[in-house]
């Protein structure tokens, strides 16, 4: 971690401790008492239907609905979530993503009751490297009450993060793409690397029985023959498996790095970097096609991208 990041992390934990020390916010009263029209709107939209929801009880998962800020929310300047989020936004963690919501219902609410809500800052954890970027997990706890009686609680966690593009943009001077690990080239593999430089994805084949094999080797695993040649693959296949490499750093590569095991249409499987995909989009069985990453005059690496129709 750089000195700057270290100082930032300390500032974030100081601010978190300050907001946590403020404790629970003043209770904020729901706009309306628990009422049948709002329950009916929920039942219509969610599609729930139980007799008890038209006989005086509200669906428990509506707990938070009663105290939502509405179309023109009044910002409580002491709201811990808002204060912490603003601080993180100013620190460069501009994006937000809900990750967890844990609601506990002590009892069902009844038409005519009016709830209030309080909030505390429960925890701020980070900085963490995540799939979408470096960020902090911010957890708040909300408590709903009818009068003094606690009726429901919620732990709500968001990831407040710096989008990945923002800290490892293409052309990041820290990453020299020509510094990649060089493959071993020998009598068995030279044809493959000559192929990539010529824009051909070559698969070794047995000159005797014709069986295809990859990675290349001296003998045919089917018939044992030593004479070999190659075919040119169509370059299309499906993603058989993949890994997301986060650590340790790899020379010439920006992390996290997506590595795929691609099953080519010809039947052999090949390991290569996946390009044009992120953790959200990558999935097994994804149709892919080969593309070329030219490193320099001596080396071109095959990579795989999502297949375009």
């Amino acid at each position: 971690m750089s000195d700057h990041d270290q100082a930032l992390a300390e500032a974030v934990s100081l601010e978190a401790a300050r907001i946590q020390a403020l404790g629970e916010t003043a209770p904020r009263l729901a706009r309306d008492p628990i009422n049948q029209p709002m329950i009916n709107n929920w039942l219509e939209a969610i599609g729930e239907s139980l007799p008890r929801y038209t006989a005086g009880e509200a669906p428990p998962a509506m707990a938070q609905v009663w105290t939502m800020g509405g179309l023109h929310p009044q910002r409580d300047p002491n709201d811990p979530l808002h204060s912490m989020m603003q601080f993180l936004t100013d620190a460069g963690y501009t994006a937000v993503l809900g990750t967890n919501c844990e609601q506990t219902y002590h009892r069902y609410l009844r038409v005519g009751e009016r709830v209030s809500v309080t909030t505390t800052l429960d925890a701020v954890v980070g900085p963490k490297q995540t799939g979408v970027g470096v960020g902090y997990f911010v957890t708040t706890k909300s408590t709903w009450r009818v009068g003094e009686e606690e009726v429901a609680t919620m732990l709500f966690r968001v990831l407040k993060y710096r989008p990945k593009g923002a800290d490892s943009a293409p052309g990041d001077p820290a990453v020299d793409p020509t510094a990649v690990l060089r493959p071993t080239r020998n009598a068995d593999t030279e044809f493959f690397w000559e192929g990539t430089q010529a824009g051909e994805l070559r698969i070794q084949s047995c000159a005797d029985c014709g069986a295809l094999r990859h990675p290349p080797g001296p003998a045919c695993p089917q018939c044992g023959a030593l004479s070999r040649t190659h075919v040119v693959a169509a370059g299309t296949g499906t993603l058989f498996s993949y890994v997301i490499h986060r650590h340790p750093p790899v020379p010439g590569k920006t992390l996290p790095l997506l590595l795929g095991l691609v099953e080519l249409d010809e039947g052999v499987r090949m390991v290569a970097e996946l390009r044009g995909l992120d953790e959200e989009a990558v999935r097994i069985d994804l149709p892919v096609q080969v593309a070329w990453q030219r490193i320099d005059d001596d080396l071109t690496l095959p990579v795989f991208e999502p297949r375009t129709p």
Partner: protein, 134 residues
């Protein structure tokens, strides 16, 4: 449609439930949950933030998990808690497929694990606590 199925065995599976996601579902549930954030009703703005489309809000996800359970057990149980972990966004024109399984039984308390999957992967992974009513 109210059934009153009981949950008596750990490992017992709930019938799968497929819910087509439409813009109307996303918008009507956002408004019914009083969530007026633009990403739940304005596709132009949602896309300007880098999102593919509008998407389901979290209160609705929790509500749909509740419905998945109550559609099956009716009024035989109270819902004691719903813990959801959020994953892939639920966009219109996708289908949300809920599956569930009893993960633990402790007297009158039944824990059900639920997954709501969309084409991108798990939209929600939830643990629901039900209490048998006496």
């Amino acid at each position: 449609m109210t059934s009153t199925s009981t949950l008596s065995l750990v490992g017992q599976e709930l019938p799968a439930w497929e819910l087509p996601i439409t813009p109307t579902l996303v918008v009507s549930t956002a408004i019914a949950t009083r969530d007026f954030q633009d990403v739940h009703h304005d596709r132009d703005l949602a896309q300007s933030y880098g999102s593919q489309d509008i998407f389901l809000n979290i209160l609705t996800t929790t509500g749909l998990v509740e419905r998945y359970l109550t559609d099956y057990v009716g009024e035989a149980y109270d819902v004691g808690s719903i813990n959801v972990r959020l994953g892939a966004p639920a966009y219109p024109y996708d289908t949300l497929v809920f599956t569930g399984e009893v993960s633990a039984i402790d007297g009158d308390e039944v824990h059900v694990s639920v997954v709501g999957a969309v084409s991108l992967g798990a939209h929600v992974t939830a643990l629901v606590l039900l209490r048998r009513r006496r």
